[in-house]
Symmetry: C2
Subunit: 362 residues, 2 copies
Amino acid sequence: MDRAKRVLRSEGRAARISDVATAAGVSTATVSRALAFPDRVSEATRLRVLEAVRELNYTPNEAARALRVGATRMILVISPYLYSGAFFNGVINGLDAELASAGYTMIVGSVDGPIEKARRLVDLVYSRQLDGVVVLTGVDPVVEGRSLLDAEIPIVSICSPMSKPSVPAVLIDDEECARKQFRHLFALGHRRFVYLSGADQHYSEIVRYRGVRKEARASGLGEADVIRLAGLYTLESGAEAGRRYLQLADRPTGIVCASDEMAIGFIKTVSEAGLRVPRDLSVVGFDGIPFTRYYEPSLTTIVQPQAALGARGAEALLTLIRDPLALPTPRIGLRGELRIGGSTGPAPPAAVHRQRQALLSS
Amino acid sequence: MDRAKRVLRSEGRAARISDVATAAGVSTATVSRALAFPDRVSEATRLRVLEAVRELNYTPNEAARALRVGATRMILVISPYLYSGAFFNGVINGLDAELASAGYTMIVGSVDGPIEKARRLVDLVYSRQLDGVVVLTGVDPVVEGRSLLDAEIPIVSICSPMSKPSVPAVLIDDEECARKQFRHLFALGHRRFVYLSGADQHYSEIVRYRGVRKEARASGLGEADVIRLAGLYTLESGAEAGRRYLQLADRPTGIVCASDEMAIGFIKTVSEAGLRVPRDLSVVGFDGIPFTRYYEPSLTTIVQPQAALGARGAEALLTLIRDPLALPTPRIGLRGELRIGGSTGPAPPAAVHRQRQALLSS
DNA sequence: TTGTAAGCGTTATCAA
DNA sequence: TTGATAACGCTTACAA
């Protein structure tokens, strides 16, 4: 056994299964079995094999195994932007925990930026290098006519359904959450609103905006009482929306945001202009990222179950991988909850509001 | 060619190189060449091959290629915590941009949590599934006596050197940055300090703390003028340090933090207790994460070149992969810069400070 | 310029 | 319980 070790070292190559087999005095088949199915091998053999494995510092070559078995134990997660956004970090952490405990490794890719990046991801999928795909927020990169959805690979979606209804999706009750945002402000006396939107066309954007409008109508408000400002979920787009808000002739006092980051960017801008939150206006965020607890004021927001979104998505995917034919639950519903912080308060009396507005404009 | 396509579809399997070869009427070797070295085949052949590739929707099987070539075009990035911390997100984005443009795919793993996760990463490295490794903040998982450093794989480190000096490292001037943090406060008149630390034993922690103490000594202060509060870089550990700060009998007015998140957590806690920043105390962060611009007050901080740290690390690694024997630059130095925000200001006059302190304690 | 064929390191079938 | 052996799909000498 020692001689085998010296040979390897002198040749400067890693041990392979045949080295272990030689060292243990068995065949490669037996080594493979001893590792994969310890109980299908005699006690004595198993011990000798394991000893040789340890001695030679043997780790099976994954490429060879993947080629042979046709599975890689790798999962691709497609995120809208790479590592931006504390919210997706939370979801991805949930995914990773679940996937890792099942023995899977996760690759996170984004399709923002140059088309090259998207092409690589699509190639990765089509080259059978992946056992499954998780899609966040419904992104479906189509490169040269190839879509992930045609790749015959297990796939689940989180935060948005896919265009192909058979793809399982883990969703929260976006519409109801948006209504909760609105109701909270309405109950505080706010009667005119800004809806600070997410990216156009996004599933959650469409559903949440609908929720806000429905709730506004149900509360007896008209179309003009909810002003939609376009945002992109980011800090900067929230700050930019704040600037547009400041230019409004008669400013609403209830601000419903599609993300926490936008809420924070928005508050920053209007604070610098001299407005005070929640004295002059109230802001509700969406997501429940860790920063919301530490912002000044702390943010009233919808807390999404980030880890659970990831974990349930991982579960659904693993189910699909283990039995690709079993019909999976097409929709998994989770719920967001309103957490009240310091960024919302009673609407200022109309007279006071008008007066302050006049003061600030001057 | 159409027949080949129908056969594949009926068999429900992906096209392989031999299918393309048959369809194009050439050998598999020619297909391989047409794809990898287009100029080593004739124009006509190339066109026929590419047409067959398109027709059959062929993507080379990466596992087979990896097995044959002994390279996977995958890079492992080991991060201290998975997807926490806006700072590492910035570094990882820099890495990804550079690696992706060189045709590499990135896997991000963390070694926090159960030992199982670390074992998987180490196995991944030893199973030759990776072409290189990037280590953030010097983490070196050792599982069952195997260290990454013994794996004979190209490896570079970012934000910290490794114990093995031959490993290239991309570093910033931590000591000088810490001195800048201190000098800024000292110039504003602060004479007693809190140093809110990072994780014990961390390279950057050791170096930065040394910088602060050196600068304090150079400024004529004594040991007792810098109080070290232990932190862990996180929002929560900053908030916790704030609580300990509030219990100090005589509270320093200059707060030097080892991360932005701690600075924010700290400010939140002391603000809630009635202190005002920067009127009563000044706080300097470290990292320059996006939130620092949107916090209220905006944070004075050391801006680390996050994307550049990642990009230079990726470059160094790619160099090492392409020529493992070339002696790489062992140290790559980048610089952080002080960005002044609203969280620092003139130290309050001693009398005022004492008076306010007495008021608050009551 | 093209084709033949060996071999990368596994696992799984089949026979002993 | 074990061993011999045939794939898995690709790349690359080497030969033609």
